[in-house]
Amino acid sequence: MAASSERSPPPFPDSEDQELEPDFDNEDSDEGADIFTGSTMADSKMDPPLPTSTDKLPNDLFSDSTPEPLSDPLSDASNKTESETASKLSPDITEVELASDEPTADLLNEPVGESTDEPNIYSNSASVTALIEEPLDNPTEKEPLDKPTEKEPLDNPPEKEPLDNPTEEVPLDNPTEEVPLDNPTEEVPLDNPTEKVPLDNPTEKEPLDNPTEKEPLDNPTEEEPLDNPTEEEPLDKSTEEPLGTEISKPEEEIVISEPVSAISEPLKSADEEPQKDIVEESHKEVTEEPPSKVQSDTATKPSTDLFGDSPDDDDDLFKEPLGAMAKKPQSSIFSEPQVDIFAEAKGDVVSKPQNEQPKDVPTDIFTEEALIPVINTATKPSVSASSKTNGVHSDEEEQDIFAEATVELSLDSPRKERKKQDVAKPSASAPSISVTPSTSKPQPKTLEELEEEESEDKFELNISVTNPEKVGDGMNAYMAYKVSTQTTMPMFRNKTFTVRRRFSDFLGLYEKLSEKHSQNGYIVPPPPEKSILGMTKVKVGKEDPSSAEFVERRRAALERYLQRVVSHPSLLQDPDVREFLERDELPRAVSTQALSGAGFLKMINKATDAVSKMTIKMNESDIWFEEKLQEVESEDQQLRKLHAMVDSLVNHRKELSVNTAVFAKSVAMLGSSEDNTALSRALSQLAEVEDKIEQLHAEQASNDFFIFAELLADYIRLLGAVRASFDQRMKTWQRWQDAQNMLQRKRETEAKLLWANKPDKLQQAKDEIAEWEAKVTQYERDFERVSATVRKEVIRFEKEKARDFKKNIMKYLESLLRSQQQLIKYWEAFLPEAKAIA
């Protein structure tokens, strides 16, 4: 989410005004993520104000699209309410809307005729437009000025923006969330009156804008070239990013949030439907309506608004020629846009002016933040037309529209965030708040639920590693283990099967799994470590108890390793796992040698990773990860300490066992020296008891080790894997950030090129921007996906850990219990002997 929000802002920051809008950008990025999931409503609301600039085309699209989506998920009534709410909200926005409203009215009127789904909205909008028109007239002159002013006010009172947005876009959002709809309905009446109020504001702001207008006037010619690049950008963004990001994001979000299922469908439907509608509408508009509308309404007020806004923004933000759009350009633009629109419809290249509009709009939008989506939508139709330059609107346009629709959704999120911040405004804040808690809390729950489902769905799958056998002689010797599988899972050919595997095969399996899955944030269970010393002993030594212990220890560790792998639902599905369990002959695993070339490379990679880990300072947006990572790190330390303690317990108990054996021998000698027969007999009995106790201690020491210490050792290794998954998440985050920085730089270069007026290089710059935008989107998606996976994996890991620990603690306690029972038996047997001493 954050990415999307950031995506949109970048254009602004580049050239435009860091002065005015830096705040917005930050807000967008930060808030975007949270808002996204829950508060589509707010987003939609936000969008409308944006359209104001681009309104004419977008409005139509919006209105068309909105009714349909609304109707699908919700009821017609809801649509109406939405429209109403939108209108209600709009009052606050009035400033922005005023400009927008006018165009919307024009657009709305036309679309209304087409869609006729939401008379209320239209009527409202019409009324608004009427109201607006009056003020607008005044503003028209001042409007360009107003926009900059609007930006400022927007920053201060974010509330206005959210409110405004809803008017046009609300319907889209509403379908996704039912709650918001209710609120809007209540507010509906308010909207009309409120609208009037906002009108006043714009007038106040207008004067500010005026200065900017003057500048732009000169540049009208320049604007066209400038616009082109800007147009391309939005197009690219909309086409590439929105499609993937928006679609994918909603899905993810859906997964996370409880209401997701319900929401997801509406979202999709909304996306799809709007697209079609928009496409159709856009076609129609472009072909037929636009000219008339644009000429009539837009030419006068809307055009002025849009153009005026854009130029102002451009000037302020870009400080480039873009500002040329001002009043003079407006007039020219107005005339041009109309023509352009027609041209676009016709497929002429003339679309540039139109492009200018969208461009301008986006700049405004960016500044206003809320405007962005609208701009995109507006730009897209125009862009699609322009890009194709031919009448072929169909495919590409659809995509663009689609992208737009999606873009709106994504954009909405930041707005929602703002709304949250602005809690002051009830309408906007209420829905967003209601949404956010549901999204944030439900996430873990749903994950757990998913997990439980997974675990419940598990088929029986028992794996055992047995019969370690030495194969070969000398230093080439190795241990082969029998890996037996017993399962009811249908994915395996047989119910039981056995293969022979050597240690390096296990390592190879890990390498394969880790290569494939760890980059996605999965926690891949690590295999037992290589032990050159232990293995060398096995290779050289014959029947030495320590090497037997080593083999047994490794066998048990390998068995636990495999069991952990197959208990992981995702890893179990991996073909390499199945191959490992089923296939008779495995290709010899390479690169598992401790100090082979590959191993050396791995070491270097690890070293660089460690360095980058030190240097990367992740600006953690999700406190959950931060806390978890800290938990994991402190747990790692604690477990290491505990492991050392248990190790010392094992050693002390072994020592005790040895000392007991020695004492037993000594007492036996003492007994043999004793001249009192009964005492002598008792002493030799005592020696026997001590001998048995020595066995008990030895067994308990090995229980300490195999049940307790090895469990801890396993989990120390596993915690390493958990940390690796966190690192992986950080890496994807870093990659995303890097890409964003790169995009930022590209945009700066583009802005510079714009300044320098070098159209030849501009195209390349635009291409690069498009490329990097796509990357940013991709990386952001990667990051979101990895984050979700890591979260899920960590929760799963914790459950497994709790289960494992409980199981092993029980096992350990039982072993202690058994040895105590034996102890009682031994001493009770000895007691009569002691009493028999006379």
Binding site: E631, S634, E635, Q638, L639, K641, L642, M645, V646, S648, L649, H652, R653, E655, L656, N659, T660, V662, F663, K665, S666, V667, M669, L670, S673, E674, D675, N676, A678, L679, A682, L683, L686, E798, K799, K801, A802, F805, K806, I809, M810, L813, E814, L816, L817, Q820, Q821, L823, I824, W827, E828, F830, L831, A834, K835, I837, A838
Partner: protein, 399 residues
């Protein structure tokens, strides 16, 4: 813990001194002791019906050195050569717990507060146990003297008990220390010399072989038992650390595991107390028994040496008499000397035989008692452990 230690100490006292006759005419105990740095001041309390004492009941302050002085004077008294002089109590040894305390202080940083506190408590308990054991050993020494028909009438012993001022026994100076060392050397060499003398009495011949063999065995067993109880103590100390670490892990854990870890830690803490008891009971019932009899056997060996020396003296006197008769010179004097030596030897043999026989009986009874008690304690602790474990298993299972 401390109170139980006291109890078991008292049990042990009785078990070791089980051979003491139940004569109530002279009852000695050490009700109190004060530890000042390396010095331990014992309050020796006596209750008596004997008229050799001025008062029926009295208490005097005594130091470890005073006990050593008493032991040495008894050993040096010719009349007691035929007796097994009860071994002097070992010097109070607070080095081991002190050293451990020092180590603990060094390792304080690596431990949690809770862990450190427990370890410290454990060491304090150990220190206290050593202290009590020291007191008991001194008490036993006096009780054995008081229950001995001959030694209880010793004048020095009575002064030791009665003189209410500080005995201010002179610490041995360097020369005397060296002299004592030299004496031991001579004695050892002498033992080798007189070992060549043909034993005239089968009983003593057997006793000698037995005691020599038995001493080396029991010395070995004592060392091994010490090691065993020491490592048992280590195991129980490990439980402290594991329990503390488990607790701190549980504190960080937010899952169901938290409860289990806490229970587990709790259980280990309880098990550790039981294990510590097992270790300390083994120490008291087994190691102390072996250690005491090791020293007692040394005393018996000393008796044998004195008798052997007397025998050698008699042999020499016989030779001197033969020589004197040959030369017909100083025959009467030689005869007199030979007679004295024979008398002394006979007396030594007679009392030695009695002493050794009673020692044997005393040893068997003490072993029996201690072994029975140890077995019972082991069973008790194991049952205790078992019920703790079962309780914990049930707790975890029901959760």
């Amino acid at each position: 813990m401390t109170s139980t230690l006291e109890e078991s100490d008292k049990e042990k006292v009785r078990s070791v001194s089980v051979d003491l006759n139940n004569d109530t005419s002279l009852i000695i105990d050490i009700p109190d002791a004060l530890c000042e740095r390396d010095k331990v001041k014992f309050t020796v309390h006596t209750k008596t019906t004997l008229n050799t004492f001025q008062k029926p009941e009295f208490s005097v302050p005594r130091q470890h050195e005073d006990f050593n002085w008493l032991h040495d004077t008894l050993v040096e008294t010719e009349d007691y050569a035929g007796l097994i002089i009860p071994p002097a109590p070992p010097k109070p040894d607070f080095e081991s717990p002190r050293e451990k305390m020092h180590k603990l202080g060094e390792g304080e940083a690596t431990m949690t507060r809770e862990e450190y506190t427990k370890m410290k408590q454990e060491l304090e308990a150990e220190y206290l146990a050593v202290f009590k054991k020291t007191v008991q050993v001194h008490e036993i020494f006096l009780q054995r003297l008081s229950s001995h028909p001959v030694l209880s009438k010793d004048r020095n012993f009575q002064i030791f008990l009665e003189y209410d001022q500080d005995l201010s026994v002179r610490r041995k100076n360097a020369k005397e220390m060296f002299g004592g060392f030299f004496k031991n050397m001579v004695k050892t060499a002498d033992e080798v010399i007189i070992s060549g003398i043909k034993e005239v009495d089968d009983f003593f011949e057997q006793e000698k072989t037995f005691l020599l063999d038995y001493f080396s065995k029991i010395k070995d067993s004592t060392a091994k038992a010490e090691k065993m109880t020491y490592s048992h103590k280590n195991v129980s100390d490990d439980y402290i650390h594991i329990s503390a670490t488990l607790n701190s892990i549980a504190a960080d854990d937010s899952t169901d595991l938290k409860k289990h870890l806490e229970k587990f830690a709790d259980l280990l803490e309880k098990l550790r107390k039981v294990e510590a008891r097992v270790a300390s009971d083994q120490e008291l019932k087994l190691t102390e028994l072996l250690r005491y009899y090791m020293r007692d056997i040394q005393a018996a060996k000393d008796l044998l040496y004195r008798r052997a020396r007397a025998l050698a003296n008699y042999e020499n006197a016989n030779k001197a008499l033969d020589k004197a008769r040959l030369k017909s010179k100083d025959v009467a004097q030689a005869e007199e000397h030979q007679k004295q030596c024979l008398q002394k030897f006979d007396k030594l043999s007679e009392s030695g035989k009695k002493e050794l026989t009673s020692f044997k009986g005393r040893r068997v009874v003490a072993f029996r008692k201690n072994l029975i008690e140890m077995a019972e304690l082991e069973i008790k602790h194991a049952k205790n452990n078992m019920s703790l474990l079962q309780g914990c298993i049930e707790l975890i299972n029901t959760n």
